[in-house]
């Protein structure tokens, strides 16, 4: 994959990958690890993508797989409280903030499904 194409994909889909990663784990540090693993997989894959939609779906699938691998990892870091570490996004409405935290408090299985439905 050419460097320019990789940068384009990274800039276009970083937020999507990060949101899926965050929805799958309890803290942003793990989410960042998952994001890096996902983009490393992209670099290593040498895959020919049909279009941007194909790229997006592939990235989401790999992100979920990487998150599941992290959960199964023997050396997984100790889980820390989400409220202690997550930089709260700024929402225009209080309801949005409440919605965000309500979803984040779901168990990973349900959080992931909820987020994928939203996507």
């Amino acid at each position: 994959m050419e460097d320019r194409e990789y940068i384009r994909i990274a800039r276009q889909y970083l937020d999507t990958v990060y949101r899926v990663a965050l929805s799958s784990c309890k803290n942003p540090q793990d989410a960042e690890d998952i994001v890096q693993s996902t983009f490393l997989k992209l670099l290593e894959s040498n895959r020919e993508f049909q279009d941007d939609d194909h790229i997006r779906k592939w990235l989401i699938r790999v992100t979920i797989n990487e998150a599941n691998s992290l959960w199964r990892s023997f050396w997984r870091k100790k889980v820390i409280s989400l409220e202690e570490t997550l930089r709260e996004p700024e929402f225009f409405e209080l309801e949005q903030s409440e919605l965000f935290w309500a979803v984040q408090k779901l168990s990973p299985k349900y959080r992931e499904v909820t987020y994928l439905y939203i996507l």
Partner: protein, 178 residues
């Protein structure tokens, strides 16, 4: 707009407020540069290999399980020199037919009409569709559902195959498609 669509839109707008940091973006971009520095030559060699598309179409899509989490379907091809070539297949469904597509190197692809070069091969309790001695596709499970019709495509040439019968006694028909 229905309630469900409105809710979905609202959820979407809410989660759009969550962003990866600039630092994260810099790290991910830097990864790309570092990877190319270390592996640039290898990437260039791979991109020069003609990507020959092997597409296997299965009408009975329930034969192949595709994990809900999105795990890819990986088949193992046996190349002419006996190497096992794991191939990660992408799946798509069109008009009720499921296609699995992967890419293999040009040196593993035969060049002529394969209609008469296919046969079934039994190995213990497995039945394979053997394509010109280059590829073997495990179709054992397909037999349990009765006649098994499918497609494969090599270098842009499409073939339809029909396999029926049992492990011990089976029939095969392969026809190139226009």
């Amino acid at each position: 707009m229905t309630d469900e669509n409105e809710n979905r839109r609202y959820y979407k707008d809410t989660f759009r407020e969550v962003h990866a940091s600039e630092e994260m973006l810099r790290k991910v971009e830097a990864m790309g540069k570092e990877y190319q520095k270390r592996n640039g030559t290898w990437i260039l060699r791979r991109s020069c290999v003609a990507a020959a598309a092997l597409a296997i179409g299965l009408i009975s899509s329930n034969i192949i399980s595709y994990a809900a989490t999105g795990s890819p379907w990986i088949i193992t091809l046996i190349a002419r020199d006996g190497r096992e070539v794991p191939l990660e297949m992408e799946r798509r469904t069109e008009d009720g037919i499921t296609y699995y597509t992967g890419f293999v190197g040009e040196d593993e692809i035969p060049g002529t009409d394969l209609s008469d070069a296919c046969r079934t091969v039994r190995e213990e309790e497995h039945l394979y569709l053997d394509i010109n001695g280059v590829f073997k596709i495990d179709i054992t499970e397909a037999l349990t559902t009765g006649n098994h019709e499918g497609f494969f495509e090599i270098n842009g040439k499409k073939y339809k195959y029909l396999v029926g019968g049992t492990l011990e006694d089976n029939t095969l028909q392969v026809n190139a498609q226009e």
